[in-house]
Structures are given as C-alpha cells and as structure tokens.
Amino acid sequence: MLKTTGVPNDQDLDGVFPPQERLGKGPVVVVECFETIPCNPCYTACHFGGIEAFKDITDLPTIDFEKCNGCTLCISNCPGLAIMVIDYQYHKDYVKMTIPYEFFPLPKEGEWVKGLDRRGEVVINVQVILVKNAKHQDKTPLISIAVPKAHFKKLRNIEVGDSNDQS
C-alpha cells in the first residue's frame, strides 16, 4: 500500500506508535519513516537520546520511547516531515498533537481547522492550541492541535481556511 499510494496502513503505524503504556506517561514522538534512505537529521537533532545513534546513514530511526521526552525539537529537522509528537495526557478527552506544517496562511491559536487523515480526507474539525515558528525551525512551523481521543491515530494533517490561494 505505502509503496503504491504513499499511505501507510494500520500495520505500518502500529510498528511506529509508542505502546499505550508509554502514552500514559506524557508527550512522546511518533516517527513515520519506513524506508532506508540516506538521511539522519532526526537523530542529530535530539539531545536526549530519544533517537538512537545511526550506525549507517541509511538506517531507519530507532526510537527509545523511555528517553524521548516529547520536546518536539526533531520535528522541524526532519526533511521528510515524518515526525510528530503526541501528548495523550493533555486532556481527558483530547490528545495534543504537534505536527509540522509548511503552508500559508498559518492558522491562529484558537482557530478551528479541518483535521485530515493520511489520505488528505477530512476526519473532524479540530482546534489549534499552539503555533510555533521560531528561527531555529527554519521555516517549518509547528502546529499543536487538540484531537478527540477516538481519532488521534487517524489524523496527521490540517487544512486551514478554504484554500491556500493568496491571489
């Protein structure tokens, strides 16, 4: 599936999501990188040993879920935009999901946006909690959204307003 459509299936995702027990302990990274490509900036971004050292540059990232503290630093360093951080403890009904988003206009904090799945289809509207666009992120802003717990494994993108067209 992934290789023909670009959409990872449940099995692919189960392999990279942290165990439920770890989710209960606070924010943690989810890295959807399934292919041995020559790339390692996720590892070099992490100061906490959350991503294990690469032996070869083509290794898949291996996550140490106990060491990852969900700091979000690696997200904007990944050229594949394959990384997000989820905080399952954020609220009793909502997960806080922090994703990279490189489109204009950026949403505003508090704004409602469309929550999209991995095929780009609308799942549910979600509210933006936080927008971070610091210089060290080098033009890859981070958006945190509150996602109802029933949908947190499905959502992976947002759509802001009706279109991105500025003209």
């Binding site: 023909t4 020559p38 204009f104």
Partner: protein, 362 residues
C-alpha cells in the same frame, strides 16, 4: 589566453565542492558556470535536504548553495566566472568559453592542466499525442518559473512522474497555492522517497502508480489530459482511461547525465541504465580514462546533491594531489570522503547506484 592549474566546468554542488577542495590544496582554480548564478539545481530547491549533517542535511537547498558559494570566496586562488559556458575542449587542451555580458557575447580561451567536469544533467521528455501544447512543461521549467521568477505555471496541475523530483515539485506547487490534481507514474511503485509521497498524499493529492499519460487536448493551450493504466510492457490498456481537467502538465520522468563534453574530448563512455544514461568510465577518485579529465556529480551518474558534493571534493583533492600540490590531510580527508560516499549509497534505495558504479569503475 588564460592559464590555470584546474578548470572546473559547472557551478552546481559538485563543481563548487571541487573548486573548494582544489582551492584548499593550493591550486590555481578557475570555476565557470553557464548561468548567472552559482548553485546549479540547488538554487531552485526550497525544501530541506536529506543526507547527513556533513552535507548540510535538513538545510534548505538554496541555503546550501549560498554556503558553498561563501566557502569558494574564501580562497584567493579560486577565480569564478558566471554566465560563462564551456563550449568545447580541444586536443591541445584548450577550452573555449562563451561569456555573456550585458552588451555582447565574448569568446575566451583557457588552458588548464586538469579539467573537472560537473555539468549536471538534462531532463528527459515523453512522447504522447499533443505533447507540444502550451501548458506542458518539464519539471525544471516549472521550478524555474515558481522558485526563481515567482510565477505560478497555472491553476491545476497533473504531475507525470513520482520520483523525488516529481514529488518535491508537487509539494512546492501546493505551497505556492496551485492545485495538484494527481501524480501518475508508469512504474508499479513510487520511485521517490516514501516520506515525500506521504506528505503530499496527506494534503489530499492522489498518486496513481501503473498509469501513463496518453493524450493532451486543448485549443490554444492545455485543457484536458488523459491517462491510462499500463500493462507489463508499459503499454496503455484500452478502457482504463481517466481524464483530468488541468491547464498544466508537468513532465518529470527523470534526468540523463549531460555528457557532451566527455564525448567530445574522447573519454571512454559506458551506457549505464542505473546511472541515467551515458557516463564516462572513471576510477574511485573520479578520474576518467583521460588522466587530466575528472567527472563529478550528476554528470557522473544521476544521484543526489549530497553525493555530488562528496564527489566534487574527492575530484578536487585528487586532481590537485596529482598536480603535485601538497595538502597535509590529503590521505585522511580522501579516505573519509570515500567512506561517506559509500555510506550515502547504502540501503535499499542505493542499490541501483551501487550496481551502476560497478559497471563504470576501472
């Protein structure tokens, strides 16, 4: 007539890296680039690059180009000429250059002891009905319009080719606010990196593998494109057609090494499918069968900017070394670079490159 130790032809990542390495070794270097800007393909790349930190991974392409240009400027022994195209290399070792200035075209001649060629690649095209309608672009043209001239190529695009270039340009089109109706590829699997495919897919752009473009239609410009599924021999299967109302078709079906100068000067050439076409044979230091001609980057085989930079550095160091320039850390640096190159070509995606290189070494 100008004289130099090393002439580097092409100011992309390979040529810039070659000039830096040769400059560091103390050789007199002349770097010529046909375009107005140095940086080659990097100039148009707004996305973050892959690779390792040494080759500026996670930095955006155009910023990598800037960094390399700044490094070249450090060396007084490296001279650069932009808007200057190498036209031919002659038997007596003289290279003719055409320099475009505002008022006129000037012809220059240069004699170099060694020449490093990093002329990059040319785009492939695709035969189909009406492929000359306005609105049908090569991938490079779309990128130049958008990222150099800040002009949108149209309103709604169908991308032909799901390699990295097709995927990345689709993403850049979305960022520019252009609708991408879909990405098609005749292969049964996506050729580019799956992380790129996934990030476009989750913006709602469908990817159709196993499809080819059969027909373009429109009165004065493109209005409609028809695609069809292909059989095992990549022939369209009747009855599987799908139509897209689009005003732009972007053809991104691969690159082929730019080989004209190697043919002309008489390097031994080899056709290697895995490297994109005809490439000069060379040893691991990128020296061709003519000992004063080196090759680096996409003109040595279609690969990546990361490997182009490493190859350029190897060629630059080795060429200076062979001319007798003493650079203390030569052995250490060259071994490190060779290892880096091997690392970049590891993994599943590097397999075809490894196969290709086995065919051209000597």
């Amino acid at each position: 007539m100008m004289h130099t130790d090393i002439l580097v032809i092409g100011g992309g990542p390979s040529g810039l890296s070659a000039a830096i390495a040769a400059g560091k070794s103390g050789a007199e270097v002349l770097l010529v680039e046909g375009n107005q800007y140095f940086g080659g393909q990097l100039v148009k790349q707004t996305h973050m690059f892959f690779g390792s930190e040494k080759q500026y991974a996670a930095t955006r392409g155009f910023d990598i180009g800037k960094k390399l240009v700044e490094e070249v400027e450090v060396y007084d022994n490296v001279k650069t000429l932009h808007s200057t195209t190498a036209l031919g290399i002659y038997e007596d070792g003289i290279v003719t250059l055409e320099q475009k200035t505002e008022s006129e075209d000037v012809y220059l001649k240069v004699r170099a002891k060694t020449i490093i060629i990093g002329t990059g690649a040319l785009e492939r095209s695709l035969p189909f009905t009406n492929n000359d309608l306005p609105g049908i672009y090569g991938a490079g043209a779309v990128q130049t319009l958008m990222n150099e001239y800040l002009v949108k190529p149209g309103k709604r695009v169908l991308m032909v080719g799901a390699g990295n270039i097709g995927l990345i340009i689709s993403y850049q089109l979305l960022q520019a606010g252009v609708e991408v109706a879909g990405i098609i590829d005749a292969s049964s699997e996506i050729g580019g990196y799956l992380v790129h495919a996934s990030k476009i897919r989750r913006s709602g752009v469908p990817i159709f593998t196993g499809y080819t473009i059969v027909k373009a239609e429109g009165k004065d410009h493109l209005e409609k494109a028809t695609i069809a599924q292909v059989d095992r021999h990549w022939k369209p299967i009747p009855g599987t057609e799908k139509e897209f109302k689009v005003d732009v078709l972007c053809i991104s079906v691969g690159l082929t090494p730019s080989s004209a100068l190697f043919w002309q000067v008489g390097c031994e050439m080899e056709y290697v499918r895995d490297l994109g076409g005809y490439v000069p044979k060379r040893n691991q230091y990128l020296q061709t069968t003519l000992k004063n001609i080196y090759v680096a980057g996409d003109s040595a085989g279609i690969e990546e900017a990361s490997s182009a930079m490493v190859e350029g550095s190897i060629a630059g160091l080795s060429a200076s070394h062979n001319l007798g320039f003493i650079y203390e850390d030569y052995q250490r640096d060259i071994q490190e670079l060779l290892q880096e190159l091997e690392g970049l070509r590891g993994g599943e995606k590097g397999e075809h490159i490894r196969n290709g290189y086995n065919m051209v070494g000597f």
